[in-house]
Symmetry: C2
């Protein structure tokens, strides 16, 4: 059982106390921890500008605080744009990072003052040229499939290097300002060498480009701490810097990063209550543990058992005897099982009514919850400060 950084902070006790006064399920986010994460990242990755990926946890308080800290923002939709602008964020700090966008949405971003657009196909470049004339565009290059990310990014985004080069020429021809390249190594990427490959690919495109480029969007991929140890941010920051120096030995382009999970993941705790524990037959060795959060209410990243949270059990110490369980949510849906192949270890005397705290649940949890599946209201999110 790996403890996360939030559980090691003195504030954790207060957060548990705050949680006790709330019904479950819920998520509590330690806002000051996100601030600390941001400052540390800014200092360690000083070679890059930070654009918070709002989708990871779109709470107003987080956006407002990061705005004060000087962060920029990666925006996924016009609705996110409305939210962020309503909080007073300068549109010059935003980029429209979603390669999938309607013509009217591009026009909407342009009208609101956004001038940075990601793209990855000819039709999209033409739509940007028409609806956001003269804007800065950068092109997402497709990396080979990586098995070392917990959420390996598919071929959904990006295109081949050859196509990137064609799109650069097309953008120029259509009066846009083609500025560079973006990539994404995959969310919660554990193999640092993928950045080496991605930066090498980027440098090759820079070299072959018909237009001088000066912008590299390195996307996300920096990890949060789930149920296995991860390298410290310092290691990631230094290694990526080394790759940058290696592949861009001369004049440096502008680098940006779009952290989501690595800024907010560790800062959140998801509180659930045990609804029941059960065996299906007297001879079964593995218990089923049913809780009131689930795949449709906060824990959607357990699809394919990808993200494996650590859990904290109040009132128990390291020596409490534990055993393997199958963990499932409260709905009448057989899909609503979080871990079945992966056997989480839980106290042998765990009982209905007890609380379980899932650690590092700040990213991709609340905003993913279903509106009302089985009637259950979406999990609430609270800020601790």
């Amino acid at each position: 059982m790996y403890r996360n950084k939030l559980a090691e902070r003195p504030q954790f006790r207060q957060i548990l106390k705050m949680s006790e006064s709330l019904g479950t399920p819920h998520i509590i986010i330690d806002l000051e921890m996100i601030r600390d994460n941001y400052r540390r990242m800014k200092s360690l990755c000083s070679y890059a500008d930070i654009y918070y990926a709002v989708k990871a946890c779109p709470l107003d308080e987080i956006v407002r605080m990061l705005d004060e800290e000087g962060s920029n923002f990666d925006i996924a939709s016009r609705y996110e744009l409305d939210q962020v602008l309503s909080l007073g964020v300068d549109p010059g700090k935003l980029l429209y990072g979603n390669t999938i966008k309607k013509a009217e949405d591009i026009a909407y971003f342009y009208e609101k003052g956004v001038r940075y657009f990601a793209s990855d196909c000819e039709n999209d470049v033409r739509k940007i040229a028409e609806n956001a004339p003269g804007s800065n565009v950068y092109f997402r290059v497709l990396l080979p499939h990586s098995d070392s990310a917990d959420w390996p990014l598919s071929r959904k985004f990006g295109c081949s290097s050859e196509m990137v080069l064609n799109l650069i020429a097309l953008a120029k021809e259509l009066g846009l300002n083609p500025i560079g390249v973006s990539f994404h190594v995959g969310s919660q990427q554990r193999n640092l060498e993928i950045w080496d490959y991605a930066l090498k690919t980027t440098a090759e495109i820079f070299e072959k480009s018909p237009v001088k480029l000066g912008f590299v969007d390195m996307g996300g991929g920096l990890p949060a701490q789930y149920n296995y140890p991860v390298e410290d941010l310092q290691t990631y920051a230094n290694t990526i810097e080394k790759y940058i120096d290696n592949h861009f030995p001369g004049e440096k382009p502008r680098f940006i990063m779009e952290p989501g999970r690595s800024l907010v993941g560790d800062s959140g705790v998801l509180a659930a209550t045990v609804v029941e524990t059960a065996r299906k037959d007297a001879s079964d060795e593995v218990r089923w543990v049913y809780i009131d959060a689930g795949k449709f209410n906060g824990m959607v990243e357990t699809i394919d058992e990808s993200i494996k949270y650590s859990a904290y059990f109040p009132g128990r110490d390291e020596n409490s005897p534990v055993g393997p369980v199958i963990l499932a949510g409260p709905t009448c849906d057989s899909m609503d099982i979080m871990y079945e192949n992966y056997k989480m270890e839980m106290p042998l005397d765990l009982k209905a009514g007890e609380r379980i705290y899932f650690l590092a649940a700040g990213a991709y949890t609340a905003s993913y919850a279903s509106v009302c599946f089985n009637g259950f209201p979406p999990i609430g999110t609270y800020i601790y400060r």
Copy 2:
């Protein structure tokens, strides 16, 4: 491309017209078609009482209409209970079919007048005895895994026959009224023989039971029509009746069914707009088609590519040339791909801005949508009448 029953109804043109006046994505439900489905099922399955599984599509209008028609209701949570009671439904028509429930929720159902409870483990039986004294309880028996259901039900619900027998004795001892057995053959079950096995298992429990039983909840499993032909309801109804006669040759227990998908699935159409079509490299044969609905907004049952919808393309006839596509949603999430291994065929000249209508999208769509992932609002549902 299999047309569904809604597309064959004269109302379909009016529904498309209604859809044109609405932004996408959205779902339109043909209420009268659900009424027709209910009446047909009631007539064909006259050997069973019908309990609509509200979770399949929890719209007030559907609950109200089915209540008028005389339907009963299978309730998954206290929130569904509140909704259904607020519409004036008699609590005597309800059962609490979720085996996963908190003690306080059992008490809440009891207080509101519900007297039928499903159960599958000792702790739960004890909670029911304490919080809903004297109530009717029935026990979910676990069936072996079935690969012939589009959503095979896991071991999440139910227990072994031996444990069912023990729970019957325990319930009796605790002052409850153990009335019978429930099973679920798996959602969208295509192999009718599973009902044979399930009814045989049930009859065996009836025979061995220490208490005389008289209630069989046959759950759901009757199909909607997706992209492959399914047997007509008449075939299902007659075959199940034959199995019942075979396994319960003497005095018949009370049989109930909990249809969800088979009542509402075919009646809904999901309207989406093509956001873009793209190839990742000039040499790619398969296009990507991005639409404004997705796995997090209406099409969650495409997880593992389980449910495969048919699609209707306005303005095109049977002879329009088509080709394989990968279908993906609008979010910046690589998981938001509906069909990648299964290659849907779409018109070769499909363009951004065009509409696609996904058929048989009435069940397990709107209520599953995420609250705001990537900022996108949840898909809206509208009633056509």
